[in-house]
Amino acid sequence: MESVGYHILGGIVTIIVAFTVGLTYMGLSRKITARIQNRKGPPFYQNFIDALKLASKESAIHHGFMQHSGPAFLMVSAILSVLVIPVLNNGNWFPNLNFHGDLIFLIYIMVFGSLGMALGSGQTGNPNSAIGVTRGLSQMVGFEIPWVMALVAIMVKYQTTSLVDLLEVQQTGGWLMFSSPFAFIAGVLAMLGMFRYSPFDIVSAPTELASGPVSENGGKYLFTMMSSGSIFAFAKLVLYVDLFLGGASNLIELLAKTFAIYMIPMLYGVVSPRYRTEQAIQYFWGWPLFFGFLALVHALVF
């Protein structure tokens, strides 16, 4: 059970699942958005087609080694983060690479990819890329604060920094969503920024910034980014599920819960216009921060 081979195999399966689910969710989001806008919309597998097309592009250009390896950084980071998160809560499936304290590790490993991406975009020399990156980083500082407050509140409440421990707690004590409601609210509000859907999509605003950081990437670079983005999305969703919804004991439950979580930023985005960067930051330092404080107080008092 505990052999290295098993771990590696589990990891590969996790990656494939994450890729598939992530892309499917993205496609579904396009479909649902279209339906809301009274359109037929693309098929839910449209994103697979896009990915395939991008992968099959015959030429690609780069402006230097950093741009070339930026998507690879992103990929490494995405894969590592999805491997660190326990996908299922019973520990038998996808045990992957859990160790104590992984929440903090997770946060930083997620940033690693962004940094690589930022460096890659930086080297293109396209001003739009750099502007997008600064916007992204600024926005990140914005939503990380309530997010970390929510995490800290949970960690304080259960005196652990380990996701595995938190999952165990929820097995017996009910979902954290109910026992720490404020942390959940703060976390969800922070998640809106994390997914970079509207209204927080100024980072890669297509018409304003020419898609920002990725503006110089096409073909296989874009493919790598797209797939790592989907893996990331899955990782974040699973993280939320693990944190607040008690994890999932099997794949169906996992899909249901993750999709439920995924609906939140998506639906919020469909009906929202776009924030400017400082507005976004101020948004996150308003109510989400307040809820974060409430969560902290709640965790400390009760």
């Binding site: 771990h7 990891g11 030429s59 690609a60 250009i61 780069h62 402006h63 230097g64 080694f65 950093m66 070339h68 690879a72 990929m75 490494v76 590592l80 690479l97 160790f99 104590h100 304290g101 903090i104 590790f105 930083y108 490993i109 940033v111 690693f112 940094l115 930022a118 460096l119 930086g122 080297q123 020399g125 396209n126 001003p127 750099a130 502007i131 990156v133 600064t134 980083l137 600024s138 990140m140 500082v141 990380e144 604060i145 970390v148 407050m149 800290v152 509140a153 960690m155 304080v156 920094t161 020419a210 503006s215 110089e216 296989k220 960067t277 400082e278 930051i281 101020q282 330092w285 902290l296």
Partner: protein, 615 residues
């Protein structure tokens, strides 16, 4: 025992030789300089063990020199950085004037830092402290830029700090009759309550200045950015650690003896947290790499202070580990700036861009150090941050975690700015002539960057001496299997094992992807940075497409209310007010002889009036 004296004698002789013989010949000077560093370094790493020590008496006061396992950690930083930045300096400074002064002063600083670490008594500690202060001062003003402003600010704050410390030392001496640090610590509980509070506060003020704690930090940005970069590498990397060194001793060995002394630690930890947050914001605002790194240093020292002020075993481990890491990566970054400045003539982000293809090795060093600085795995910075978070969690400092987290997240902003500003972005024609820095400058940087990487993979290498030092401070041993990754007990009693296999898997991934990318690199085509999508417009060579002005403007707009108030301005207004006051008081000497005669009479009258109280 003799080794200590030998080291100091070599230092002094080397300083004198570098200064006087250095006037004759540049090569001789460099050789003497490096030989001194090498000789002392060799003696230190081979001949000194934590048990060495000597005692002697001056003015009837018993003094002692020796090294403790705790100061050994810092001595490693100092000697290592001195050697590497020394090599760097020889090349980097070769076109400057007054080099014999520079190198002699460099040696003097290194000697004084070693002296501080070797001092077992407060008097020699203070003496070396002051030597360090003025020798580093001469380096701050060495370039002749902003001398009166930056230099005086530095010496003013240093003097305030040092004299606060001296005051404490004097009290200690008059109470215990001994200046030995050991005696002081042993007898501290005998002091009366007032003194028990006053002495640590005074000492912490002194150390706080050097470690740039928030209200006392205003000298740092100017001083760090003003001295030659080859020196700042050591200034920020090693010299600021002397403040940390003293702070640890005070906080752990002394403050713990005070009833309710817990509050001092809390306050210092919070000040550290605020320092980290505010300095990070200011670092984001800077357009000059030196200033930015200076603020970044202040912020990083804030983390370290948080660690050592919390003082739980894990926090202390985190603080000291971060101190070592900061010494490594911040020196590298300052060296990088120095190299860039040497090759391009400026260190301003808004001017230099796109050097990555011109100075790839420098970029590599910068990249590694930035990753370490940002605390991103797998480099060493992460280990320290991770331990810090764990320890803060374990010691119930939740708001501090958020503060630290905020600053370390915001740090990404300036980390990116640093890399982007110099190395990425458009490759302008203006910098097309730039070449890679000389090997003598690049190699020390790469060595240091390599250390940052090594300590990320094998933190046990440095955790072992840190652990021994902490045992000296009275902590229980936390690890002995240091060659494995590291076994770190967090405060909640869980043995945390970072599995080696875990890192192997990371390694495989990295290898895999890097291999893929390198393979793919050949099948894709390189195009120049002018070839970007610009709505079809064809940019000319001279057109500046680089985005560096107002780089983090949206973020700065969001945090503008916090940054509106500057401590610097308050100090300036206090200073101006005092100078105006002094200008007023000195008018007592009116210049009129008759007024003096009047004073004479008034003085008699005053003395007669107050004769009962004065005599």
């Amino acid at each position: 025992m003799e080794t200590i004296l030998t080291i100091f004698i070599i230092f002094i002789a080397g300083t004198a030789a570098t200064y006087f013989l250095g006037k004759l010949n540049g090569v001789l000077r460099s050789i003497l300089f490096l030989a001194t560093l090498a000789a002392t370094g060799w003696l230190f790493f081979t001949g000194i063990t934590p048990e060495s020590g000597i005692e002697f008496r001056i003015l009837g006061i018993t003094m002692g020199w020796g090294i403790t396992p705790f100061s050994y950690i810092f001595a490693i930083i100092v000697m290592g950085l001195a050697l590497l930045s020394g090599i760097y300096a020889v090349k980097a400074m070769e076109d400057e004037k007054n080099l014999n002064f520079f190198f002699a002063n460099f040696l003097l600083t290194v000697m004084s830092m070693m002296g501080i670490l070797f001092s077992l008594d407060l008097i020699s500690f203070f003496i070396f402290w002051e030597i360090m202060t003025w020798s580093s001062y001469f380096m701050v003003v060495f370039t002749g830029k902003d001398v009166q402003k930056v230099g005086i600010k530095y010496i003013l704050f240093s003097a305030i700090g040092a004299y606060a410390m001296l005051m404490a030392i004097v009290f200690i001496y008059s109470f215990t009759g001994s200046v030995l640090i050991g005696d002081f610590i042993d007898n501290f509980h005998l002091f009366d309550t007032q003194m028990q509070w006053l002495i640590p506060i005074l000492l912490l003020t002194g150390f706080g200045v050097k470690s740039a704690l928030m209200p006392l930090h205003v000298w740092a940005p100017g001083a760090y950015s003003n001295s030659p970069m080859s020196y700042t590498a050591m200034f920020s990397g090693a010299l600021s650690k002397m403040g940390i060194y003293g702070m640890v001793i005070v906080l752990i060995l002394i403050v713990q003896q005070i009833p309710n002394g817990y509050w001092i630690k809390e306050v210092i930890a919070w000040m550290g947290g605020i320092t980290a947050a505010m300095a990070t914001l200011w670092a984001i605002k800077q357009d000059d790499a030196k200033k930015m790194l200076a603020y970044s240093s202040i912020g990083q020292l804030g983390y370290i202070i948080v660690g050592v002020a919390i003082g739980t075993p894990l926090a202390m481990l985190a603080g000291l580990f971060m101190a070592v890491m900061h010494g490594i990566f911040k020196s590298t970054l300052f060296m990088v700036v120095g190299a860039v400045e040497r090759q391009t003539g400026t260190s301003n982000f808004t001017e230099v861009t796109g050097l990555i293809r011109k100075m790839p090795w420098t970029f590599l060093a910068a990249l590694m150090s930035i990753i370490a600085l940002a605390g991103i795995p797998p480099l060493g910075g992460f280990i320290g941050k991770w331990m810090l978070y764990e320890s803060l969690m374990g010691s119930n400092h939740y708001l501090l975690i958020i503060m630290i987290f905020f600053s370390s997240t915001a740090a990404f902003l300036y980390c990116f700015k640093f890399l982007f500003g110099f190395f990425l972005g458009q490759e302008e024609k203006e910098w097309s002539h730039v070449k890679e820095a000389p090997a003598m400058m690049v190699i020390p940087m790469l060595i240091l960057a390599g250390f940052a990487f090594l300590l990320g993979i094998f933190p046990g290498l440095i955790l072992k001496p840190i652990n021994e030092g902490m045992q000296f401070l009275g902590y229980v041993s936390t690890t002995n299997r240091f060659w494995e990754m590291s076994i770190i007990f967090n405060d909640w009693g869980n043995a945390v094992v970072m599995m080696p296999i875990f890192y192997w898997i990371i390694g495989v991934f990295v290898f895999f992807l890097v291999f893929l990318t390198i393979k793919g690199y050949k099948t894709t085509r390189y195009v120049s940075t002018k070839d970007i999508s610009t709505s079809g417009e064809i940019p000319k060579e001279h057109e500046n497409l680089t985005f560096t002005m107002g780089f983090m403007q949206p973020f700065l707009r969001a945090v503008a209310p916090v940054m509106k108030r500057q401590i610097d301005k308050y100090y300036t207004s206090i200073g101006n007010g005092l100078e105006a006051l002094f200008d007023f008081t000195r008018r007592i000497n009116t210049g009129n002889g008759q007024t003096y005669a009047l004073y004479f009479v008034v003085f008699i009258i005053i003395l007669l009036l107050f004769k009962d109280s004065l005599f």
